[in-house]
């Protein structure tokens, strides 16, 4: 009888372990894009709990940027001249670090929608600077800047320069509406 109980327990433990493994793997490897889709469909009414980093990760998954590298606060402040960093609750900002392409994406969450609105000018200045810089440098890439998106949604502000700006914006909207 003891043998029976022991063997049953061991088999159960093994089966549970295997089930946990098989259940955990997909969860941990779920792509950000899939998360985005799920968020967009299931959580469209309320603002997502996703972080700015979650949002940029999802965008980069769907519209990759060559040599994408996260920029720290000093670099972000340097590129968005005049932005009030004290009003930013969180941000995530990636650029093509090699300088070869104009691609970049920034998602900011401010302490209020007013703060987000007041930062639009700094982001627009960045876009204008990039347009001026890349217009003659890489004419083939200029379409990314021409179709760049700067938009605000409540306390969120985002800036998108990728190979498919519409697709990227759809993903962002899936998170923040």
């Amino acid at each position: 009888m003891k043998k029976k109980i022991l063997s049953t327990l061991l088999v159960c433990a093994l089966v549970c372990g295997a089930a946990a493994c098989s259940g955990g793997t997909p969860a941990s490897t779920t792509t950000a894009a899939a998360t985005t889709a799920a968020t967009a469909e299931a959580n469209s009414a309320s603002v997502s709990n996703a972080s700015a980093e979650d949002i940029t990760a999802a965008v980069l998954e769907a519209t990759p940027i060559n040599s994408a590298f996260a920029q720290n606060e000093a670099m972000m402040e340097n590129n968005f001249d005049g932005i009030d960093v004290s009003k930013i609750k969180e941000f995530s900002y990636y650029v093509c670090a090699s300088g070869a392409y104009p691609d970049e994406i920034a998602v900011f969450r401010f302490d209020s929608s007013d703060s987000a609105a007041s930062a639009v000018a700094a982001v627009s200045d960045r876009l204008e600077y990039q347009k001026k810089t890349y217009k003659d440098y890489t004419p083939d890439e200029y379409y990314k800047l021409e179709g760049a998106i700067i938009a605000q949604s409540g306390e969120w502000l985002y800036y998108i320069v990728t190979s498919d700006n519409s697709k990227a914006e759809t993903i962002v909207k899936g998170f923040i509406g």
Binding site: S7, S67, F69, N72, M75, A97, S98, G99, Y134, Y137
Partner: protein, 296 residues
């Protein structure tokens, strides 16, 4: 009563369980063996901490005996620092013109502190020094599309390259410019403009050690597109080197450092456009700069 599955008095489930445990143990042993022998290693993501330092051993080929020297106090322990004016330095004998390659092993490829008081003047390639987090913007005057001519006049954040050097008074200045003008400016004109830039920098910051860096190679694919070719690059770098010899400036031949065996930008360092650098390119460049200066 249903018949129980038993093998020589042992429950079948126990047998299966034991087999599974043995399999798991074998897999674990194999994985541990692979890890111990280095065949299974964690992915080298960026291999760079917040300061951009890399803790790995690399071998760097350094070309010595080139051009003309201006003694940098960090070059050797007993370097004379009395006269930093490059004009007064000795020039390399013509017979020693042929570079001599010395292979050295750098345990730590570069130390960002080494460059703390230095200024990098360049084009979009140098913007990666900030974008990748190697340096703060204060150490880098770089703009997309900058060339030797526009570097003399164009402003960024209210500064020209020269006025930035004048204010900063950097310990060393590394100039790498010319890739953008290859297609339309002419090598002779670019070299003349580089000469003007170097002289202006000397005037406003006479104590700075100025290093002119050869422009980097491009990939074979990029070369075949015809806009910037290795023939153009090598031609310009040759003129730059001659200018450095005449002006008493140290010429750092980065180009040869980044070439593959066929003389094109190595795939290890090349961005998709065949001209810019991946992060590995910057690591190698900084290692080359520091090592070149320290062994002098």
């Amino acid at each position: 009563m249903p018949k129980k599955h038993r093998v020589d008095g042992i429950s079948l489930s126990i047998v299966i369980l034991n087999i599974l445990i043995v399999i798991v143990l074998i897999v674990l042993i194999v994985l541990i063996y692979l890890y111990m022998t280095g065949k299974l290693e964690p992915t080298d993501v960026a291999n760079m901490d917040q300061n951009g330092t890399v803790a790995q051993i690399t071998t760097t080929k350094v070309t010595t005996g080139e051009a003309i020297e201006m003694e940098d106090p960090d070059a050797t322990a007993d370097t004379d620092t009395e006269d930093p004016d490059p004009e007064t330095e000795d020039t390399t004998d013509e017979t020693e013109e042929e570079p001599e390659e010395e292979e050295i092993v750098a345990v730590d490829p570069y130390d960002l502190d080494f460059f703390e008081a230095d200024l990098f003047i360049g084009d979009s390639i140098y913007t990666g020094l900030v974008n990748y987090g190697f340096f703060e913007p204060k150490n880098v005057f770089a703009q997309v599309g900058l060339n030797p001519e526009s570097a003399n006049t164009k402003t960024y954040d209210g500064y020209t390259a020269v006025s930035k050097a004048e204010e900063m008074k950097p310990k060393r200045i590394y100039i790498m410019l010319g890739s953008n003008g290859l297609a339309y400016m002419g090598n002779t004109h670019m070299t003349e403009q580089m000469h003007i830039l170097v002289q202006s920098l000397r005037e406003v910051s006479p104590d700075s050690y100025i290093y002119v860096v050869s422009i980097p190679p491009v990939t074979k694919v990029h070369d075949s597109e015809g806009k910037e070719t290795m023939a153009m690059i090598n031609g310009y770098n040759k003129l730059l080197k001659e200018m450095c010899e005449n002006d008493g400036i140290v010429f750092l031949d980065l180009c040869s450092q980044l070439e593959d065996s066929a003389g094109y930008l190595s795939a290890d360092y090349a961005e998709a456009d065949g001209m810019h650098f991946l992060v590995q390119g910057y690591r190698h460049m900084l290692s080359f700069f520091q090592t070149s200066i320290q062994i002098r």
